[in-house]
């Protein structure tokens, strides 16, 4: 006979009837007014914010029993590598999948508060449009330019030291926590004008994004690919982007990015390295032209 697990048996009894109260800042569509809505779900051990949201969606009733449209959110991998479930949980930016309910209740026992990221336009409820984040990566050409079908042979060797330096930067999952916490990265949400074509609006929006701060994630990726032996072939193009409007100069050294990064990426080191590279590049350009 297997010895009874008293701890497991007694746990549900202690938690029976216990409810988790959740307060969610909802928004029905882009540009609409947001509103708070309260929900309650039965407590289960080892919940995370995603499983709470799943219960809320399944119930589709607010805490006072009113039928409501299910709350929407983004998520994918559920193991903190895809970067899609970023939201403001108890006022702080983090991944919903790795935000454990037991910890959140220790932090704030009455209620869990969920808000969409404040630096990106809301699509609906907790879903935001992070197009600008990915545009930032495009601006700094955060890739290795080998986009053809020729056989270039083996690439240059990368020393273990360089690998160790680069690896943490390569763990970036584009979650946007660094941007959400950055006081220099402010929301850009252009609205489509009456009679404006979709193309014209997309172009205007891209222009607005391209004048805004590129963000810590893009600066760090630019440094990752500028350190790569093949990636560095377009190092100057990345530095050109980093020294154009909304580039590295917009950083205010608040260093929130590195404090909130779920992957503990040394973002401020990348920013300082980008500052140094930009200094050298600007001086070189001044004397070489």
């Amino acid at each position: 006979m297997i010895a009874p697990n008293h701890a497991a048996d007694s746990a549900p009894a202690a938690d029976e009837g216990r409810e988790i109260r959740v307060r969610i800042l909802r928004q029905d569509a882009p540009g609409q007014e947001s509103y708070w809505e309260r929900h309650a779900v039965p407590y289960e051990p080892n919940m995370n914010v995603i499983s709470v949201l799943q219960r809320i969606a399944a119930g589709a009733r607010s805490a006072d029993g009113r039928p409501v449209a299910p709350v929407t959110w983004d998520c994918n991998c559920l193991e903190e590598v895809c970067g899609s479930c970023t939201m403001l949980i108890n006022g702080r930016t983090r991944m919903a999948c790795s935000a454990l309910v037991d910890r959140l209740l220790e932090e704030q026992p009455e209620e869990i508060e969920l808000r969409p990221m404040s630096k990106f336009p809301v699509v609906r409820d907790l879903v935001v449009d992070r197009r600008r984040l990915f545009r930032g990566l495009e601006r700094v050409k955060a890739w290795v330019p080998v986009d053809d079908s020729y056989d270039h042979g083996p690439g240059p060797r990368i020393s273990p030291e360089e690998q160790e330096d680069a690896y943490p930067l390569s763990t970036c999952m584009s979650c946007g926590c660094c941007l959400e916490a950055c006081p220099q990265y402010t929301k850009i949400e252009p609205v489509r004008r009456e009679g404006e074509t979709g193309e014209a609006f997309a172009e205007r929006r891209q222009g607005a994004f391209d004048r805004g701060f590129v963000g810590a994630h893009a600066v760090s990726q630019a440094m990752l690919f500028n350190a790569h032996p093949t990636g560095k072939m377009i190092a100057d193009e990345r530095l050109e982007a980093l020294t154009s409007a909304g580039g590295i100069q917009m950083c205010g050294n608040a260093q929130n990015c590195v404090a909130v990064c779920p992957k503990a990426i040394p973002l401020t080191r990348s920013i300082a390295r980008a500052g140094r590279a930009a200094t050298v590049w600007a001086i070189k350009r001044l004397f070489d032209r």
């Binding site: 409007a245 100069q249 205010g252 929130n256 401020t268 500052g275």
Partner: protein
């Protein structure tokens, strides 16, 4: 229509030159504005060595004569105005969030902006209060500063406790802004890149800030110690000497030597003029 095109032209100029403008902004905080702050506070601190030592430093600065005003405009006023203008633009573009993210770096970021604004307001007040630029504004309502009677006029102008408190707040804001700006500047230009190097640089900034804060607070204490009557007498003697030396220029050098040794001997001819 015209307004919008003008705005976009200005925005595009600022956009194209944003990197250069922000780097010049960063540099101007160190040279010349930060450098001037250091020289100013250390000069002020000489009042701890007595009214005469302070008067000596002031005379040294004013020995630039006619050059003083252009030097002041080019190396002090214009750089401060540039630094403040770009600084206010930067502050307007940011969104402090120290309430949600109360980390040390974020607190420093917020304080940097707060102290920058306090320091600018203080500098405007300081010019009105003590500088010749502010003379038309203050009129006879406030006692000003006379560089030939440095300690005594300063002691009178700084007579009230409120004024001392105001100067302490303004000065400490400027010192914090400079010291923290020094640390920040090193990251901006890429002088210190690793977290360990940033921590070491932080200590350098703390020491620079502490020395300047001590010099600034020391000068406030020094001014309170000044015996106005004794300082006036000392300044009167120096003033006499200065006028005499200026008046001596066309005379032979032998006469100058003589008067320098025995200044009181030529007092009577000068009193008439």
């Amino acid at each position: 229509m015209n307004v919008s095109t003008d705005e976009s032209a200005a925005a595009s100029f600022l956009g194209r030159n944003q990197f250069l403008i922000y780097r010049l902004f960063s540099l101007s905080g160190l040279v010349p504005v930060g450098g001037f702050l250091a020289v100013h506070l250390l000069t002020n601190a000489s009042i701890l060595g007595g009214a005469e030592s302070f008067q000596g430093r002031v005379d040294l600065i004013h020995s630039l004569g006619a050059l003083l005003v252009p030097v002041e405009i080019a190396l002090i006023f214009l750089p401060i105005l540039f630094h403040a203008t770009v600084g206010f633009m930067i502050i307007a573009g940011g969104l402090p969030n120290v309430g949600s993210y109360p980390y040390a770096g974020n607190i420093r970021y917020t304080l940097q902006r707060a102290t920058g604004m306090i320091a600018f307001a203080f500098i405007v007040w300081h010019l009105i209060h003590l500088h010749w630029l502010g003379a038309p504004v203050r009129g006879n309502a406030l006692p000003g500063f006379d560089p030939h009677h440095a300690s005594s006029t300063l002691a009178v102008a700084m007579g009230s406790m409120v004024m001392n408190l105001l100067y302490a707040i303004g000065m400490l804001s400027a010192v914090y802004h400079f010291a923290n700006g020094l640390w920040s500047l090193g990251i901006t230009w890429g002088l210190w890149t690793s977290p360990a190097a940033m921590r070491r640089a932080n200590w350098v900034s703390v020491v620079v800030g502490a020395v300047l804060a001590a010099a600034g607070l020391g000068s406030l204490i020094g001014v309170r110690r000044v015996d106005v009557e004794a300082a006036r007498a000392m300044e009167g003697r120096r003033e006499e000497m200065r006028r005499m030396l200026e008046g001596e220029v066309p005379l032979p050098s032998a006469r100058m030597m003589e008067t320098a040794v025995e200044p009181r001997a030529v007092e009577s001819p000068r009193t008439g003029t």
